[in-house]
């Protein structure tokens, strides 16, 4: 079985936010919750770059480590999903996440947070595939239908790639080879993290 991955090509992303709209529309996400966001750095300056970000479905995901109910789990293909009915809305996963992926609806009793909502890689949730409950709680299950997630399918410049890790990296490697961006294309000229 493959390993599902997102990859956003910052040389191609044009900050159109089509991925955000596609995700929100297709999965009926309430106002105030964004499973996917587009972040732009150096706006209006030379070298402006945009990146579409959602849950990155990490291996050894910190959200799974901190969840006090253990309602977040990782499928064999690497997709990180969670059980909304067990979630207690404590917000720990948001604090552990390096990408700010977990989102919380407000407006419960005393303004408390409701159950967490995050990108499912369009793979639904723990409920039965295509059941009404799954669609209501988690949105579409395009993976079970054999399709790519809505955001990646929507992306006009094909900056956002989603699918099996080896396929995604093949596509990206070919692009980088054609572009000739050098080693910096992978971000390897600078370290993202301290040693």
């Amino acid at each position: 079985m493959g390993r599902m991955k997102f990859l956003c090509d910052v040389e191609r992303c044009i900050d159109c936010k089509g991925c955000v709209v596609a995700c929100k529309e297709g999965n009926h996400i309430p106002v105030g919750i964004n499973r996917r966001r587009v972040i732009t750095i150096g706006q209006g300056k030379p070298g402006e770059k945009s990146l579409s970000i959602s849950c990155m479905h990490c291996s050894d995901a910190p959200c799974i480590a901190v969840c006090p109910v253990d309602c977040i789990y990782q499928r064999e293909d690497g997709i990180v999903l969670h059980d909304k009915e067990a979630c207690i809305g404590c917000g720990y996963c948001f604090m552990a996440c390096p990408f700010g992926a977990p989102q919380f609806p407000s407006g419960q009793v005393f303004g408390a947070r409701g159950a967490m909502d995050k990108c499912t890689f369009c793979a639904g949730g723990p409920e039965e595939n295509f059941s009404a409950k799954e669609i209501k709680l988690y949105g579409q299950n395009r993976i079970a239908e054999g399709k790519v997630p809505l955001c990646a399918g929507m992306c006009a410049t094909k900056a956002l790639l989603a699918g099996d890790a080896s396929e995604v990296s093949d596509v990206y490697r070919e692009r980088v080879f054609k572009r000739g961006s050098g080693a910096s294309a992978w971000g390897q000229d600078k370290k993202a993290y301290k040693d």
């Binding site: 910190p62 480590a65 006090p68 109910v69 917000g91 552990a96 700010g100 009793v109 005393f110």
Partner: protein
């Protein structure tokens, strides 16, 4: 470039994100489990080895707590107990099954936290003067308030002993820090690093306070027989005051 993106997501994850993840993964649950098991065991041991202090309740009585302080105490006591219980529900939400039950617990936690903060302000003011540390508190600490012996020796303490003073300061000042960090966690606004720092502070302080809470419960319910009555009627037996609060002047 990637660092810039990273900072735009949730701040510098390595600063508190990693710390919080490690603490929550391996420490907080165990810490609360230890506190909730070891302290009752120690207290039970104390009860069996040294036993409760008994004072004559039929002798003359001293008026110790006026009505206002009793009411304030009980509002704070009930809300605080709810907070300890519902807070533990969040910590041990996995064996409890999570979901709507714990969500309800969180609502109770928020409501009682609000009420507690309201009650803690007058409590802080009315007892502040008697709670200021004085010289003989150190002596009290050295003999552990006389709780390690069965003898009835007068211990140096005014209206409140050094143990009660520690509990008071931790519960009021610590309580305000808990209330503020709780408010930040409830509002869930601001930089993610602030939320991470607040949840770390909230957990550690709550652990210290729940430990003190257990000791306070034990003292009032078991260690000094009938001492619960003084917080209901306001009167303490004169013998008890002479021994446990020997410097008390009404």
């Amino acid at each position: 470039m990637w660092l810039k993106f990273n900072n735009a997501f949730t701040g510098e994850w390595l600063q508190y994100g990693q710390l919080f993840t490690n603490l929550q993964e391996s420490l907080f649950g165990r810490l609360f489990l230890l506190i909730m098991t070891i302290i009752p065991c120690v207290l039970l041991l104390h009860y069996m080895v040294i036993g409760p202090k008994r004072f004559a309740h039929d002798g003359p009585q001293v008026y110790f707590f006026d009505l206002f302080s009793r009411i304030i105490h009980w509002i704070a006591a009930v809300t605080f107990s709810f907070m300890v219980l519902t807070g533990l529900m969040v910590i041990f939400s996995k064996p409890l099954g999570g979901g709507a039950l714990i969500m309800g617990g969180r609502s109770v936690h928020i409501a009682s936290g609000l009420l507690f903060t309201v009650a803690a302000i007058p409590m802080f003011i009315i007892w502040l003067k008697d709670m200021l540390p004085v010289g003989y508190d150190i002596k009290w600490m050295f003999i552990m308030g006389g709780y390690l012996s069965k003898e009835k020796m007068p211990v140096p303490a005014g209206k409140f002993n050094a143990g009660q003073k520690m509990w008071f300061w931790l519960a009021t000042l610590g309580g305000f820090v808990l209330a503020y960090s709780g408010y930040v966690l409830w509002s869930f606004q601001g930089p993610t690093d602030t939320l991470r720092l607040m949840v770390i502070i909230h957990n550690f302080l709550a652990a210290a306070l729940s430990a003190m809470f257990l000791v306070h419960l034990y003292m009032s319910l078991f260690a000094i027989a009938g001492s619960l009555g003084s917080m209901i009627s306001g009167y303490k037996p004169q013998e008890e005051v002479a021994i446990l609060h020997s410097r008390f002047k009404s």
